[in-house]
Each structure stands twice: as structure tokens, then as C-alpha cells.
């Protein structure tokens, strides 16, 4: 039922995209002379490029397909993943945290932990990140293979190997620079496919008011059209299945701040910006497309729910929620736009894999090889190491993808586990950046016990010992527990251990001058034109989010 019949024109449009992306990689190779060029893109990119790459790195297909699925399952309340679960954290990153990251001249997020807390915290974080990156890249590859299999009839193995090979070629040649240029291009191709799909989808059910009437009459009901109605504490009737407190604190605060402000695959884009102001504007520029993307994911999800018989009801032989976008592409798009949408799907899968691989090679080279495993080699050595790690990472990701094909449930659990690792780390960073007293042992103990606390809640919920009502609510509580334990343990252990040495704080903690006499503060860069002022951009993004939340309340 999902099988498409692309014409030669569709395949030509897809092939053209591959040629351009590979071309970027080959040309970018000439820009790579040092390991820093390969792994950091030479810190030379303008803010609009890093900003669009920032949003595209998160626009992997598991995200697009998953959010359309959420749209069909939970309705309009899915916007919480964008407006509460992303925008505030992105604004916070741009205005508060990015100045600290950029000023410290770190080349990765784990490296900041090394400067501030020492080697234990650093190694713990670097290894977890490296393992998670490879596995998540594998999950993305596997998801791509399933879609290719359903849409085009390609064998899963072929889909995995072909897409991995393309990613390997353009990142292996050009490194982070070509990954970022590729992501910006992917951003436009993804939207060029999704925007027409959303427009045709709404027209096919008779316009927006007909869509709303039909959703109200569907299993979602009236509250499927509202983000906040029916989320009262103790009286949750909204399909999202969580009350407003756990939405705001769990999703909006703990989960989203943990992901957006410390995930290196994202921060790396901002670190490659050409100056501090551009690095601050990276997540702020990204916030605006992020605010609008739900229009092209949730709307197709809702249309699929009402237009496809038995949608989401696999027991009755219907399609599963994840098929929303592929099924609508097949039903609604004629030759031509069909090719663009197919290219957009490919582009989004590759964006996800590329972001993971290009951050993996930096962390392995600069955070594991250079400081510990292969100290004091020439820059040439680290450049080659970066290339080798890229290749090895892609190969492991292929095996992970093949493994995922056999053990799908295991991969779901693994992803939940990485969610556990992500949740407490924001607490460690914010205490490290703003509280001078946070000691190395405090940071390490807090991070470790925070992870354990999150894992404990996860295991108890899986075993049925505690019940939070829904899977989403469980992940919110799990993240909340991890965060609280991290804060408490970090503070207690820091007070019980010796004060950190002054050189651990210089130039990277609020109010402590660096070796050059510059005191890190939240003073914002002076910019002459309004669209370069970080606070103004962040304020605009937040204001727009508030208005949209009221409109869709």
C-alpha cells in the first residue's frame, strides 16, 4: 500500500541532489589542511549557515516521521515538542550559555567538562557521547532502510549501505565544513518536499475548517485540536496524556534544556561560527524555523489520521502512525513534486546520520585520542585519525543498523537510556558555569548519581513498580529525577570537598577573570543592526512562541 511509483523525472531530481552533495564534499576537501579544518570547520562560518545547520542537524527523518506520527496520535499538543520543548532552551543557549562555550575555546562539549571538572567527568561524558552517536546514527540508517524498502522496494541492506556510503564520502572528504554545508542544503530540500505535501494534504480533506471538524469527530476528539486544554493536574483528558506541570518542567525544562544546551551534535554547529556574536545567534536563528516546522509535520499527521481508513489501528490491518508522511506522499503527490519529497526524505535521513558522525569524529579525536590514548602527535596524525574515525564510525553504524533490524525493541531501550544520560548533564553545566564552588568531585558525583537516578526511575516504570500514566509522562518524571539528584549531589559533594583550584575557573566561570583579564559575564555583544542583536532575536522568538501557544491553547 505504501509503494510509490516514481517516474524517471523523480529519480533524476534525487540523483541531482546526490551529485550536488557529493560535489560539496569533493570541493570542500581542498579546504581541509589541518585537523581543525576537518573537525571544527575552521571556526569561520557566518551565523545564517550555522543557524540553519543547527536546525537541520535535528531535522533527521526519525524526527520528521516521528513528529508526524505524534501528530496523528496526540493531535495539536505535539507542538509542545517544539514550542515548549525546544525554543526556550535554544534562546537560553544563545543568550546565556554560548558566550561561555565560545570564550573557553573548547572544541567540544566534553572538553568544557575537562577544563572545569577534570578528567573523570570528561572521560565519562566523552565515551557516553561517542557510543550514543554511533548507535543513534545506526538507528537513523535503519529507519531510512525501512522507508526505502516500503516506498521503493529496495532491499533493506542496499538502502543502509548506499546511504552510509554517501555520508562517508562527503564527510570523509570535507569533514565538518561539508557536513554543515550539506545540512543547510538539506534544510531547503526537506522543506521543498514537506511544504507542498502539507498544502495538498489540507486541500485534499477540504481545507482547514473541514480538517478541524473531522479531527473533532475522530478518536482524538475536540482536545486533539488544543495544546493546553485538558492538561489539568489530576484531570488529564488531552491525548498527550500528561498534565501541564510535567509538560512545562519535564519536557520544557529538564529534557529540552538537557538536549539543546549540551548535545554536542548541536553545539558543534554554533562553535564553528566565525565569532562570538555569530555563535550566539546560531541557536537564535535556528529557533525561527523550529517554531514553524510543526506546521509541516503535525498537519500531515492529522490528515493521515482522518483520510486513511484504520490509520494507527494496526490490529484492524491499518497503517502504523509512522507511515503518515510516506503514505501521504504516495497518495497525493504527482510526478515532479514526488521526486522532491522523496529527495527531502533522503536528505533528512542523511542530515541525522551526518550530524552524528561529524560530532563523533571530533569527540573521539580531540577528547579520547589527543588527551589520553595518543598524546603529543603531529597535527597530521590527528587529521588522519579524524578521517579514520569517520570511516570506522560509519561502518559501526551500518552494523548497528543491521542489528536494529533484528532487535528493534533493544534499540528503543537504548535510545531511552541515552535520554537518561542527557537529562542530568544540564544541571552539571549550569552549576559549573555559574557557581565557583562547584568542585571536580562534585561535578563527577552529581553527573553519575543523576544518571543512576534516571535509570532507576526508568527501570521501576518498566517493571511496573510505579505508574505515571503514559510513556511520555514517565520520561518527564525520569528526567526530572535525574536533574534533581544531580543538583543536590553536586552541591553537597562540592561543599564537602576542597575548593576547585583557581586555574580550573579562570575565564570559564561567571565573574572569574581569565588569564587575559577578560571577565566572563552575560554582557551581550554590541551590534549595530537589529537583526544581529542576540537579546532582540531571542525575545522575538519567545514572543512568537507565546502568541502561538495562546492561539492554539
Amino acid at each position: 500500500m505504501l509503494r510509490l511509483n516514481p517516474g524517471w523525472l523523480d529519480y533524476t531530481l534525487l540523483a541531482l541532489y546526490f551529485v550536488v552533495v557529493l560535489g560539496i564534499g569533493v570541493v570542500a576537501r581542498r579546504a581541509v589542511g589541518t585537523s581543525a579544518d576537518f573537525l571544527l570547520a575552521g571556526r569561520s562560518l557566518p551565523a545564517w549557515v550555522t543557524g540553519l545547520a543547527f536546525v537541520a542537524a535535528n531535522l533527521g527523518a526519525t524526527e520528521i516521521i516521528g513528529m508526524a506520527a505524534n501528530g496523528a496520535e496526540y493531535g495539536v499538543a505535539t507542538v509542545h515538542y517544539y514550542w515548549i520543548g525546544a525554543v526556550p532552551a535554544m534562546v537560553f543557549l544563545g543568550i546565556v550559555m554560548m558566550p561561555f562555550y565560545y570564550r573557553s575555546k573548547v572544541r567540544s562539549v566534553p572538553e568544557f567538562l575537562r577544563l572545569r571538572f577534570g578528567n573523570y567527568t570528561h572521560v565519562l561524558n566523552a565515551i557516553v557521547f561517542a557510543v550514543a552517536s554511533v548507535l543513534i546514527a545506526g538507528v537513523n540508517l535503519y529507519a531510512l532502510a525501512i522507508v526505502l524498502n516500503a516506498l521503493l522496494g529496495w532491499p533493506e541492506f542496499l538502502g543502509i549501505v548506499v546511504s552510509a556510503a554517501v555520508v562517508l564520502v562527503y564527510i570523509g572528504f570535507g569533514g565538518l565544513g561539508s557536513a554543515i554545508y550539506g545540512e543547510v542544503l538539506q534544510f531547503f530540500v526537506i522543506l521543498a518536499g514537506l511544504v507542498p505535501l502539507a498544502i495538498v494534504a489540507v486541500r485534499s480533506v477540504g481545507g482547514f475548517s473541514a480538517l478541524a471538524d473531522k479531527v473533532t469527530a475522530s478518536a482524538l476528539g475536540e482536545e486533539g485540536l488544543h495544546a493546553w486544554q485538558g492538561t489539568g493536574v489530576g484531570d488529564v483528558t488531552n491525548p498527550i496524556g500528561a498534565n501541564w506541570v510535567s509538560i512545562v518542567l519535564g519536557l520544557g525544562f529538564v529534557l529540552s534544556f538537557g538536549y539543546w544546551t549540551t548535545n554536542f551534535a548541536e553545539i558543534q554547529r554554533a562553535l564553528s561560527a566565525k565569532d562570538r556574536s555569530a555563535s550566539q545567534r546560531t541557536p537564535l536563528i535556528a529557533a525561527f524555523p523550529k517554531i514553524l516546522i510543526p506546521a509541516v509535520t503535525i498537519i500531515p499527521g492529522l490528515v493521515a489520521l482522518i483520510a486513511i481508513p484504520n490509520f494507527g489501528n494496526e490490529g484492524a490491518g491499518g497503517l502504523e502512525y509512522n507511515d503518515a508522511i510516506p503514505a501521504l506522499i504516495g497518495q497525493l503527490l504527482p510526478e515532479g513534486v514526488l521526486g522532491i519529497a522523496l529527495t527531502g526524505l533522503f536528505a533528512s535521513f542523511m542530515a541525522g546520520v551526518a550530524a552524528n558522525v561529524s560530532s563523533l569524529n571530533t569527540v573521539v579525536t580531540y577528547d579520547l585520542l589527543q588527551p589520553y590514548l595518543a598524546k603529543g602527535r603531529s597535527d597530521r596524525y590527528y587529521l588522519n585519525a579524524g578521517r579514520v574515525v569517520t570511516a570506522v564510525g560509519v561502518v559501526i553504524a551500518i552494523f548497528t543498523a543491521l542489528l536494529a533490524a533484528d532487535f528493534n525493541n533493544i534499540m528503543t531501550y537504548l535510545q531511552s537510556l541515552f535520554g537518561i544520560f542527557n537529562a542530568p548533564i544540564f544541571a552539571t553545566f549550569i552549576l559549573g558555569m555559574f557557581w565557583k564552588r562547584t568542585s571536580g568531585w562534585g561535578g563527577f558525583a552529581g553527573l553519575l548519581t543523576g544518571v543512576l537516578a534516571g535509570a532507576l526511575v526508568f527501570i521501576l516504570a518498566e517493571a511496573g513498580a510505579v505508574d505515571f500514566g503514559s510513556g511520555i509522562a514517565t520520561s518527564f518524571y525520569q528526567a526530572g529525577a535525574a536533574f534533581l539528584v544531580d543538583v543536590v549531589v553536586t552541591v553537597v559533594v562540592s561543599l564537602a570537598t576542597a575548593k576547585p583550584e583557581p586555574e580550573r575557573l579562570a575565564g570559564i566561570v561567571y565573574g572569574v577573570p581569565g588569564a587575559d583579564g577578560v571577565v566572563p559575564t552575560l554582557r551581550q555583544p554590541k551590534e549595530r543592526v537589529w537583526y544581529r542583536k542576540p537579546v532582540l532575536l531571542g525575545g522575538l522568538a519567545l514572543a512568537l512562541t507565546v502568541v502561538l501557544n495562546i492561539v492554539f491553547a
Binding site: 569561520s44 485534499s204 497525493l332 504527482p334
Partner: protein, 94 residues
């Protein structure tokens, strides 16, 4: 800009730093790809028959998407031509 440099860690110099950008201007790449896609879709849209129209709920979607892509392409090409690389307005950082 004077910021702390970690000992033993190579920092990029200005020359290597801007190499990627000097090699090619991404705005032209976006403009060219979107432009080609736009032209192809507009032509395809003009020869679309009733079958294609019916499939897309009566919307001439190839034509409209093509026009939209041409507008995006034009914006990037005009931006690239009027503000070539290298004359970027200087920014003040602390």
C-alpha cells in the same frame, strides 16, 4: 579579540579559517539547486494533465512548488551577487 588559548591545542589561523568560504559561496549552491528544481517543476506543471491535478486534490502543485522554488533561488542568487563575500560588515565583539 583576545581569548585564552589552550596550550598544546592547535588554533586555526585566519587564512585556513576562511578557506572553506573562499572555495565556494553556499548561496550560489542553494540558488542553483533550487533554481534547477524550480525550472523542472514549472515545466512539469505546465504539461500536467487532469490525472496529476486530480491526484493532488485539484492543486496545480508542480507549478506552484516550482514557482516557490524559483523565488527562493532568486533571493539567494540576488543576495550572493549584491553582497559578495569579503565585504561583510565588520562586527564588534568584546
Amino acid at each position: 579579540m583576545s581569548e585564552p588559548v589552550q596550550p598544546g591545542q592547535p588554533q586555526t589561523t585566519v587564512e585556513t579559517g576562511s578557506r572553506m568560504q573562499r572555495l565556494f559561496d553556499l548561496r550560489y549552491v542553494i540558488g542553483a539547486l533550487m533554481g534547477v528544481y524550480g525550472i523542472v517543476l514549472v515545466i512539469r506543471g505546465l504539461i500536467d494533465g487532469p490525472e496529476e491535478l486530480a491526484r493532488a486534490a485539484g492543486v496545480s502543485i508542480n507549478l506552484w512548488t516550482g514557482i516557490g522554488l524559483l523565488v527562493v533561488a532568486a533571493i539567494f542568487l540576488v543576495w550572493g551577487i549584491t553582497r559578495p563575500l569579503g565585504i561583510d560588515v565588520e562586527e564588534n565583539i568584546d
